[in-house]
């Protein structure tokens, strides 16, 4: 599904290049649940951003399926981005001005989904994450775990084939974290490819593959 070849990411400083990622070669198959681990500064988030096409400032080749991302037109890339990717953040990043319902609705609006279809998709998601009663609340009125659930609901609303999660449980306590990971596992069973970056080893156990990064390089790559 995804193939990265010789990915380099560096910062040009006055006397030398500081590499954040160096020579990353990685192939990810459809249906994998991959965990990126490593200490702070190892390049987890950076790699995730590159895979998620949020960062386009790197050297190397990136194939999504058959297509070379770097050679795509803006429009194509934007469409691919919309249809295939879902994002989940450590700090949830819900829009404070919107209710739970509207937050989940936003990606659908950007995808020009018809109104009736939007309603049914959101209703399903609210039901699934047990948040029907909370749909009119604003993010500030929810607990961290609940906010992250909204974040996940929002990420999967557009039915992405690939879910990217950057420290999804970083701001949560362990019970909440467990809940979130169980949701991930479920999504994975339904066929969604998931890539998560985390500090917590126990989260990796929910996945199928574990990659350790150190100083911008892949240290180890194991199937679980």
């Amino acid at each position: 599904m995804i193939q990265l070849k010789e990915i380099d990411k560096y910062i040009e400083s006055r006397f030398q290049r500081i590499f954040i990622l160096k020579g990353i070669n990685l192939t990810i198959q459809q249906g994998e649940f991959l965990t990126l681990m490593g200490p702070s500064g190892a390049g987890k988030s950076t790699l995730l951003n590159i895979i998620g096409m949020l960062d386009e400032d790197y050297d190397g080749e990136y194939f999504f399926g058959e297509k070379n991302i770097r050679k795509m037109k803006d429009k194509e890339r934007s469409n691919l981005h919309k249809s295939e990717f879902g994002y989940i953040f450590q700090a949830y990043h819900l829009i404070d001005e919107l209710t739970v319902y509207e937050n989940i609705e936003t990606p659908l609006l950007y995808r020009n989904v018809a109104s009736s279809e939007r309603k049914s998709i959101i209703a399903d998601l609210l039901d699934r994450f047990n948040m029907v009663a909370k749909k009119d609340l604003f993010p500030a009125q929810l607990s961290g775990g609940q906010q992250q659930l909204v974040g996940i609901a929002r990420a999967v609303a557009g039915r992405p084939s690939l879910l990217l999660a950057d420290e999804p449980t970083g701001n949560l306590h362990s019970t909440q974290a467990k809940e979130i990971m169980e949701v991930f596992q479920e999504l994975h069973k339904e066929g969604t490819t998931i890539i998560q970056a985390t500090h917590a080893r126990e989260n990796a156990d929910y996945g199928t593959r574990l990659i350790n990064l150190l100083d911008g390089k892949i240290e180890s790559d194991e199937q679980l």
Binding site: D55, S78, K82, E97, L98
Partner: protein, 803 residues
């Protein structure tokens, strides 16, 4: 989608009330002023655009060219009106109009008097062919063909013959008296124009009435060289005839009739009907000046630009706090245009709110400045053109002020924005650079306005405190009926003089101080030679000196002897005579004969202080006494005094309605225009300062929230509040100083232009420049300081906890 945009916009506005209030208030001021100015301009261009074939209608203007001096009058010599129809090719109709001011109208049959009225004129049948009217009665084909006929409009009809059927009015006789008495039979009644028009005349006496030989001379219609501003010629050109063709024809006519001109050259020009409103010549009650409109447009544009700058400034500053939202939206699949659209929707919502408030403001401003605007000016809020203006202007304003901030926002890169990274903080920041410059620009404009207002204010104060050389406080004056004769005038004078509250009364050609001027050539014998120069002439009587309290420096006052004259000091200077005694008893030649100089008057300002005092001669010509000036006693009841004067006036001139005017009020009117400019500028500067102040308020409140952490860290490291305030305000002192430097020269130049329009003026008040700059600096530091005071007093532990 759209609904979603507006929903978010609405919530965002509610969430950030301070920002919303500042934006709405600032923009609404700009909108209010633009709306008002739009209406003024619209009104000015709405005149006389309803006539059929209006693009083919012209008025003749006459141009005198003396090489260096060129004059142009919207008037035509009498004979041109006679020959134009035959000699100018390509015209369909010619119409002549002769305007009359203040003409007395009455119905002799019913012994009804209507007093002096404007709106009376002479017109020929062609006039109604050039500018057709709706006829309610009478035959348009035959009307005004014969002398002593008159066509009246419905308004006049209602005044003269209320509630009388139309057919009974035809054939009735009216009497008009301007200088001469004219009897005229009503031959037609026409409808008044409903639309805005400069043709405000209601009574049209047949032109042939004054075409008779004995009258032509009096009305100034007899010769090609006499150009009387009352005499106007209109015409309608044929289809497809270009203005340049007509101009060529007019040049030929001028060449033919002015072939033997000795000095200068006279030619004719065309004034299209659309220019009429910005010209003069039609009683000038409704005219507008293009200069004024231009000035208003400039002021409006400046205020609007300030308001937009404010918006752009604050929005780009606050963009950082919305970066996170942009980041999220982009990762959710929103593209740049969708985001821009969202922010523009928000701006539009603000503009909408500001428009509503702006309309309220414009109504308030209209009420304040009503007296500065033309009569009959209204703002029909719901008129089609206003609704279109409001909608289009709203969209335009949204785009102008919203595009840049939304572009800034929509361009944020998601992964950076989500990390909360400050944009380009290390590098040169265009945004910060722009913000500072916009603030500087706002303060520069405010400063120019403020200092100008102060300069004009002190000049006007100086003028009113300046001694004019005569007593203006206790003198009232009134115009006498034109050419009503010396006997009646002198009867009135003696009646008035006997009143207990009157100290003296004087007859003259004019009040001591007036806009009118009479100049003449004078010959003065100096050392056996003769000097010739121009002098101002005033027609006075022997009471002039006493009534006006002017000082006589040498010689004696005038007696009844009409060959005696007085001169002023400046006259001596002009003639090169050093001692007043020298001229006493000598004869000067002025007004057709030698006059003996019996006294020398101290200089006084007979005109506005914008002008130098001219050499003056005071002579007596009782036939042309037009004004009676009365000096009132001290400590009298003004109401009773004026009542007494009025009674006396009506007893002498029973048909006249006239009022006594206070001399000092009339003199104050010389400076009315400047007073208005000062008030308008004062208002503009208030708005400009308000807008800039609000902008700074918003900007500094934002800057503080950005620098809270820095302030807290500095406090922990031991900085005192004073040190922090000093550190922060340093930047703003710099901004204001740059504004001051930028404002200094334009202000100096404008102030210089203004002051130079006065002969009597203050020195350039540099101190006021400093004061203006200082005032804004204090305001600026006050606004910023208040914010930072709160921030600096806050507990650093609380602030740093979040980080």
């Amino acid at each position: 989608m759209l609904k979603n945009y507006f929903k978010i916009a609405w919530r965002n506005l509610l969430r950030n009330k301070l920002r919303t209030a500042i934006h709405i208030l600032g923009l609404s001021l700009g909108i209010a002023i633009c709306f008002l100015i739009f209406n003024i301009v619209w009104h000015a261009y709405s005149f006389d655009n309803f006539h059929p074939d209006k693009e083919r209608i012209y008025r003749i203007i006459t141009e005198n060219d003396y090489g260096e001096m060129k004059y142009s009058y919207p008037a035509a010599p009498g004979p041109l009106g006679e020959v134009l129809g035959e000699e100018l090719a390509g015209i369909e109709e010619v119409g002549r109009l002769y305007t009359l001011g203040q003409t007395h109208a009455s119905i002799p049959e019913e012994n009804k008097n209507f007093g002096r009225k404007n709106y009376i004129s002479f017109a020929d049948p062609g006039f109604f062919k050039v500018l057709p009217r709706t006829w309610l009665a009478g035959n348009p084909e035959t009307a005004l063909q014969e002398p002593n006929q008159v066509v009246i409009s419905e308004k006049s009809l209602n005044t003269y013959f209320p509630n009388q059927p139309l057919d009974q009015v035809l054939g009735k006789e009216l009497r008009y008296v301007d200088a001469d008495t004219i009897m005229a039979t009503i031959v037609g009644v026409i409808q008044d124009y409903d639309e805005n028009t400069d043709f405000i005349f209601q009574d049209f006496i047949s032109f042939s009435t004054i075409k008779k030989n004995e009258k032509e001379d009096w009305y100034g219609l007899h010769s090609w060289t006499n150009i009387n501003s009352s005499s106007q010629v209109f015409f309608k050109s044929g289809n497809g005839i270009s203005a340049s063709n007509l101009q060529e024809g007019l040049n030929a006519i001028a060449g033919k009739y002015y072939a033997d001109e000795e000095e200068g050259s006279t030619s004719f020009g065309l004034e299209p009907l659309s220019e009429l409103h910005f010209s003069y010549g039609l009683l000038d009650e409704t005219g507008a000046s293009k200069e004024l409109i231009k000035g208003l447009l400039i002021v409006g544009a400046i205020i609007l630009i300030l308001a937009c700058l404010n918006f752009i400034n604050l929005e780009t500053a606050q963009a950082i706090s919305r970066a996170k939202e942009v980041g999220i939206r982009k990762t959710l699949g929103g593209n740049k245009f969708q985001l821009m659209f969202q922010f523009l929707a928000e701006t539009y919502l603000l503009v909408l709110g500001a428009t509503l408030l702006g309309l309220v403001f414009s109504d308030l401003i209209l009420k304040t400045f009503q007296s500065y605007l033309p009569d009959g000016f209204t703002m029909p809020y719901l008129a089609g053109y206003n609704l279109i203006f409001i909608v289009l202007f709203g969209v335009l304003l949204t785009l102008v002020s919203g595009i840049y901030p939304s572009l800034v926002l929509a361009n944020y890169q998601p992964q950076r924005a989500l990390k909360g990274e400050k944009m380009g903080s290390a590098k040169f920041s265009f945004g910060a650079f722009l913000r500072k410059n916009l603030t500087v620009l706002q303060f520069t404009v405010s400063m120019v306005f403020l200092i100008l207002v102060m300069v004009i204010g002190s000049q006007l104060k100086y003028i009113s405190s300046q001694p004019v050389g005569f007593e203006k406080d206790a003198v009232v004056y009134a115009y006498l009926p034109f050419m009503a004769g010396f006997e009646k005038a002198s009867l009135l004078q003696s009646q008035v003089t006997q009143m207990s509250f009157v100290e003296g009364a004087s007859l003259g050609g004019d009040a001591i101080s007036s806009n009118g001027i009479w100049t003449s050539d004078v010959k003065v014998p100096v050392d056996s030679a003769e000097m010739e120069f121009f002098t101002q002439v005033k027609n006075v009587d022997s009471s002039f000196v006493q009534v006006n309290g002017v000082e006589l420096l040498a010689g004696r006052n005038l007696t009844q002897n009409q060959t005696e004259v007085l001169v002023n000091e400046r006259f001596l200077k002009e003639a090169g005579i050093n001692s007043a005694q020298e001229i006493l008893g000598s004869f000067i030649t002025i007004g057709g004969g030698p006059k003996s100089v019996v006294g020398v008057m101290k200089d006084f300002n007979s005109r506005s202080l914008k002008e130098e005092i001219l050499p003056m001669v005071f002579l007596q010509n009782p036939d042309y006494y037009n004004v009676i000036s009365v000096k009132l006693g001290k400590g009298i009841n003004l109401e009773t005094a004026l009542l007494g004067l009025r009674e006396s006036y009506t007893s002498v001139y029973p048909f006249e309605e006239i009022d006594f005017k206070f001399l000092d009020e009339e003199i104050a009117k010389f400076y009315e225009e400047d007073q208005r400019i000062r008030n308008i500028l004062g208002f503009s500067s208030m708005i400009a300062i308000l807008i800039s102040g609000m902008g700074l308020f918003g900007l500094s409140s934002f800057t503080i929230s950005q620098r809270l952490k820095e302030i807290s860290v500095r406090k922990i490291l031991g900085a005192s509040i004073a040190q922090i305030l000093g550190l922060i305000s340093k930047e703003y002192v710099m901004l204001v100083s740059i504004s001051f430097l930028l404002a200094a020269y334009p202000t100096y130049w404008l102030a210089k232009e203004f002051l130079e329009s006065y002969s009597y003026r203050i020195d350039m008040p540099y101190l006021q420049f400093l004061m203006g700059g200082l005032a804004l600096l204090v305001l600026c530091i006050g606004i910023v300081g208040a914010h930072f005071w709160v921030a600096a007093k806050s507990n650093p532990a609380e602030i740093l906890k979040d980080e």
